[in-house]
Amino acid sequence: MHPTIHGKVFSGRIVRFVILSLLLLPILLPLGIILLLFCTSLVRGDPEITSQLVWSGRSGLLLVKSTVYAAVCAVSALLIGILYATAIPRFSPRVSRAMIVLIIALLPIPPYIHALAWNNVLSAFNTLISGTSYQPFALQGWVMAWWVQVMAFLPFACLIGIIALHAISRDLIDAARVALPDITVLSKIMIPISYPVLSAGFGFLFLLGITEYSVPSLFSVETYALDIFAAFSATNAVAVACATALPLIAVAVCILVFCQPGFRALGEFPGWTGTGSSPLQDWPAWFSVLQFSVVILIVLQVGVLVFGTAGSIGSLPGIGAAISTSGREIAYSLEIGILAVLIGIPLAVGIVSLMPKGNFMKNVFWMLVTLSLAIPSSLIGMGLLTLFATTTIGPVISLLLPVLAGIVRFLPVAIIIISAQFHMIDPVLMDAARFLGDVGSESYRRVVLPMIAPGIFIAAVFLFSLTLGELGATLLVAAPGYQTLTMKIYNYLHYGSFSAVAGLSVLMAGITTIIMLLTLFGIGMWIQRFRLFGSDAHD
């Protein structure tokens, strides 16, 4: 290569690297600050830190319990998700589509609404059987926390199952179907091929389960993540909370590293929205029973959500009263959600567009992008508080902190979705645009952006909904005197004010579900208009 051209290419790479680093800064800076604070305190020999590093038997046991809890929740949800994905093709195309839309509509409903719904329904059931000889359901404890957590994970787990199994090339399945029964094709071909995506799904659910404490705490179950929050509340020292969190972070990072190929596969998987549904339909009786049980479970889950929340309001004026007394919280939550989208989505698009080339650099990239998933939510909140501690907290920063909390926690999800959409673009289209005279930015605007638009919209809805439901970090960084809808619901739940919570929950679930459905409808129109993904027809 000519030296001048070589120099230009090199300087171009440096510029890309610098811009990418700047874009990643909002995610990585709070994590870096926590690490810096911890290391400084450790070097100083702060006795509070060193005492936290000496592991007590209680901490060890709690970590083991929390790890097992998160793993069991993730595996249970994923197994149900796989069964649901295999059950979908048993129904007519219209019902199959409805089953997928139902799952997507359930996705943005925050876990504590599931907790409330199950709590209400089981309480009502206990009242019903109170006069009989049957034992009432225990509404507290590990089993209840596990069940509700699994129910809250179900929409995501089902979606992962659908993506993993339905995106496998039809030829690979057919080649196995001509030789072996469908159940063997599933266990020996489809599950192993979709292993990376399934492992990413496990990783994501496990990390959510181990770093979050909202569901277990509602059922009086103490987890390690709650201990971190308690350590900070007791000492007000980020370094102490960080020292407490260290073993949990170590476990979470191990899982993150283990699942890294899966996250990368998910982000660079061109078959995400795969047009081919799984052709397997010939199942043994025992498997069919499992499939139908899972479909019934999902329907039951929807029923519990409807009756467990809306049913406890009592009357329509109940919703009205809840809305009228929560106007400020609703406005604050919407502001945060919208700002998270307005800031986060351009960041995600920029980060995906500048994704480095080469296997090693891509591995580093995905590790950095997903790192925040392994950090407990309360620790992220502490990092943000520390980062802006030196600033006089003005009104703008107070609003920005919860926004940043949402971005730091959930931008990885948006990046994975946009990246997957990005990788679905046929490179020939880009080459054709360049060949026909479009320069870089022009072809990006006219070719790339319209092609990745569906991914951008879906990522925006996810970021909005997840930020709206975020609790662990927002509890710490919300502006004084302000609270989000999520915080209000969570506080009400602790006080046992169920009818008020139910009204707000219906409102919250309504907002997110309607936005999700509208987005799906819009994307469907967009895809149909431009016929973005080919048809299924054979030669």
């Binding site: 030829d171 057919d174 080649a175 196995a176 179907r177 029964p181 299924d536 027809a537 030669d539």
Partner: protein, 236 residues
Amino acid sequence: MRMIECTGVRKQYNGTPVLTDISFHVPDRTIAVVLGRSGSGKTTLLRVIAGLDQPDSGTIAIDGRVVDEDGFHEHPARRGIGMVFQTPALWPHLTVQDHIRFVLHGLSKDEQKKRVDALLAMTDLVSLKERYPGEISGGQARRTALARALAGNPRCLLLDEPLINLDSDLKDSLIPLIREMIQISGAATVYVTHDRAEALLIGDQFFMLENGMIKSVIRDDLEGMAARLQKKDTRR
């Protein structure tokens, strides 16, 4: 004996008829080549015979046994067929020898090993048996797909343009191998292609698929068509 027999088979996708009235049969130990333009329904015909797609109406019988009829559809794995697809369709997590072994699930370990070794030797894949699909060339992948299709001693073999997108040298080396292996297996074969020269080298019996209808073509006619086409190409 009629090994594969289709009678009045119809199939449409999203309201568009692809196969309108297909009736033909392939005798035992015969290679029937089905020719046709892109989009003529060749792949659909194979998929329907394999049981991967269900015909809207008509009857399909394999080895004298009805496998598809109104209201009855037998699973592909119970039809006793082997199939090679347009793409090699190799499973990324299995080695070359595992692909062959996968089909031999009913046999003992010793019998499996014997069969795998024999097929590896026939397809010249012995040195590559431990390799994964990502570590072999396009031609080697096609040979693996052929060995897998033949592993279960199928009574019928279906090949869907197995040499598509290969360079002519590779095609020339694979055609005799495919023909030899089919003859050794004794399977009744339906071989789909759009290449007349390839069809003449492989086939014993020829069919043309046009507008969803199938008609028999004799070798001389096909040779005449191929010659005229070659002349036209030379003039250009």
